[in-house]
Symmetry: C2
């Protein structure tokens, strides 16, 4: 069994969505200062680093992160690489040749290179999912879609109706954002994407891994 | 495939270890206030709720949470119920009849009942692992041990040398604390315990699940 970590490291200088809370990690007790143990206080936005969007992020009154079905967050997933400069559209998804029964898609793009060298600045020109790609995912019964920068949305559209988010979240498709897929090839894996279980959370940082079952000679589940 | 969530919900009024930072969840932008999306700021101690202890929690200079091998945190695990009032000792572990090749043990005790009804007060009289139980785990090649209250240590010993922690963490056995095993029966499962990847973290909240492979008719891995 081979495990790929597709999560970002949480660090104080990591880029966050403009206007979102920054990350602080403060040592609260320290062995070096005579305390018994090392303990810290972490503060961060609910959409920091590798994180996911439950419906209530954009649709008031809907499901929070603690109510998401774990069966959505664990199971077969397809990593597909899209050689596009700006957007993944419905045409790209159609052309990807995904199996009819696929329900989880992770989109690898040039975005994954943006994580090289532990950047500190937010990039606005990331590859995003077009609204018609979101519609395609709804029409094809997807439960989860993952992207390799901090939003599924075109940067300029986030404050202008955020159509991609609305289409996905109204359909209860979980959006996983801030993945780093640089070390992963195209193919089928078992995804395990586990968010912090924040009460009524409008989002949550998560740790996401891909398990390559074939390496283990395990079952094709 | 059946998935059991053995994680605590992160909420502002949850009990934390005395002296540790409390939990705050503050809405930073709100659709009800005219913002585009709901986003919050979460602040919490690194040893809040369901969390794990890497070596550097008690041993300066040792591995932080971001350097833990994911293969330690994912794999076969045994849930064993211990009907003890105060401590799990080496004798109890010996009597449990665990397989020789077991490397991950989750200890279910009366502690799991302490989570019923979403308590707000910290309980000091929880069941803990005695130092000789920690030695037993080292001697038998364990990689991970989980408990169902907020520490593996007897409450009064945490400030007096914390022997159980030191034995486990010096041996690089990961301690997972704050599990809720009330809904899980004894047996063998696949554990997936994923902590936030906090840079050099002295601990990290995590989401932990048990997968019952037998239900899926999957492989016995």
């Amino acid at each position: 069994m081979k495990i790929y970590d597709i999560s970002l490291t949480i660090r104080p200088d990591m880029p966050v969505w403009p206007g979102d809370p920054g990350v602080t990690i403060e040592r609260q007790s320290s062995i070096d200062q005579g305390d018994t143990a090392n303990v810290s206080r972490l503060a961060l936005g609910t959409h920091t680093g590798t994180h996911l969007d439950p419906p209530v992020h954009f649709v008031p009154g809907r499901k929070g992160v603690d109510k998401l079905d774990l069966h959505t967050l664990v199971g077969p997933a397809y990593v597909v690489e899209f050689d596009v400069e700006e957007a993944i559209t419905a045409a790209e998804l159609e052309a990807a040749g995904l199996p009819d029964d696929a329900t989880r898609l992770l989109c690898k793009t040039r975005n994954s290179q943006l994580w090289a060298g532990d950047p500190t600045e937010f990039a606005t020109d990331f590859v995003y999912l077009s609204p018609d790609a979101a519609e395609w995912l709804v029409d094809h019964g997807y439960q989860l879609v993952g992207v390799d920068y901090l939003s599924v949305e075109k940067f300029e559209m986030a404050g202008q109706g955020a159509p991609t988010h609305h289409i996905l979240l109204n359909a209860e498709i979980v959006a996983v954002e801030g993945l780093n897929l640089a070390g992963v090839s195209e193919g089928r894996y078992t995804l395990v994407c586990l968010p912090l279980k924040i009460q009524a959370g409008d989002g949550a940082p998560c740790r996401a891994i891909l398990i390559d079952d074939d390496v283990s000679g395990g079952s094709d589940r």
